[in-house]
């Protein structure tokens, strides 16, 4: 299984990162990818910029643990996970999760699993700047906790 995980403060090219996930592997029947992007609105306010902080060392460990868990639950050929840190602007990709497998079921579920767990377990914190110049930390959402919990409760494979 081919795993690549990266945290970077340089721009993320989502399409360029996805192509290598299935290149040269004839066992791959399906590829599913998720791209998370910065929007220009949050909680009713226009947002002009964001800074992503992380816990160097723990971030990579946490992401690797999440991908390992996905690989244990589903049969996968390749996973690529790239996450931005540093300064982000609206429309910039923040995260890419790309999963290749023999069949689409595993790829869809593993991809969703990885992003759902990343949102509750990976040590990143977003600070956003609103258009009027104010700066605030983004609050964690209950819906993210529920999504992660649903994977523990789910009976489907």
């Amino acid at each position: 299984m081919d795993i690549e995980i990266r945290v970077q403060d340089t721009p993320l090219d989502a399409l360029a990162e996805t192509a290598p996930v299935f290149a040269g592997n004839p066992a791959v029947g399906g590829v599913v990818s998720f791209v998370g992007l910065m929007r220009d609105m949050n909680q009713g306010d226009r947002v002009s910029a964001m800074t992503l902080e992380h816990y160097p060392g723990m971030t990579e460990k946490a992401l690797a643990a999440i991908v390992d868990e996905a690989a244990g639950r589903w049969q996968l050929e390749a996973v690529r996970l790239v996450h931005r840190v540093g300064n982000i602007r609206p429309q910039d990709p923040i995260v890419l999760v790309a999963v290749a497998s023999a069949h689409r079921g595993e790829a869809f579920r593993a991809c969703e699993f990885i992003i759902d767990f990343l949102k509750t377990r990976a040590p990143f914190w977003k600070r956003e700047q609103t258009a009027d110049g104010q700066s605030r930390w983004v609050e964690a959402r209950d819906s993210d906790d529920e999504s992660a919990k649903a994977w523990a409760d789910a009976k489907r494979p």
């Binding site: 816990y55 723990m58 040590p123 977003k126 930390w137």
Partner: protein
């Protein structure tokens, strides 16, 4: 010695990003109590209602986790990546 790191909004509220404690408070709960005892913002953060997550040696940990000399403890708010 225990190294303690503070991240994101916690770091801003406490005005400190990291420090080294000479004494080992025993457990994560013991460390929390020691930090809260400093009063003011420390008490608000570590004895208050908001959720503060903890990692020991870069893995999520619970209140009963025993601390050893040389451990690294990170305190942070609920995460918001992705």
């Amino acid at each position: 010695m225990i190294r303690v790191l503070y991240f994101a909004s916690l770091r801003e509220r406490l005005g400190l990003g990291d420090e080294t404690l000479q004494a080992n408070p025993g457990t994560v709960a013991g460390l929390r109590a020691a930090l809260a005892a400093r009063g003011d913002a420390w008490q608000e953060v570590f004895a208050g209602a908001q959720r503060v997550l903890v990692a020991v040696n870069q893995e999520m940990a619970g209140e009963d986790h025993a601390l050893k000399d040389g451990d690294e403890v990170g305190f942070f708010p609920p995460v918001t990546g992705g």
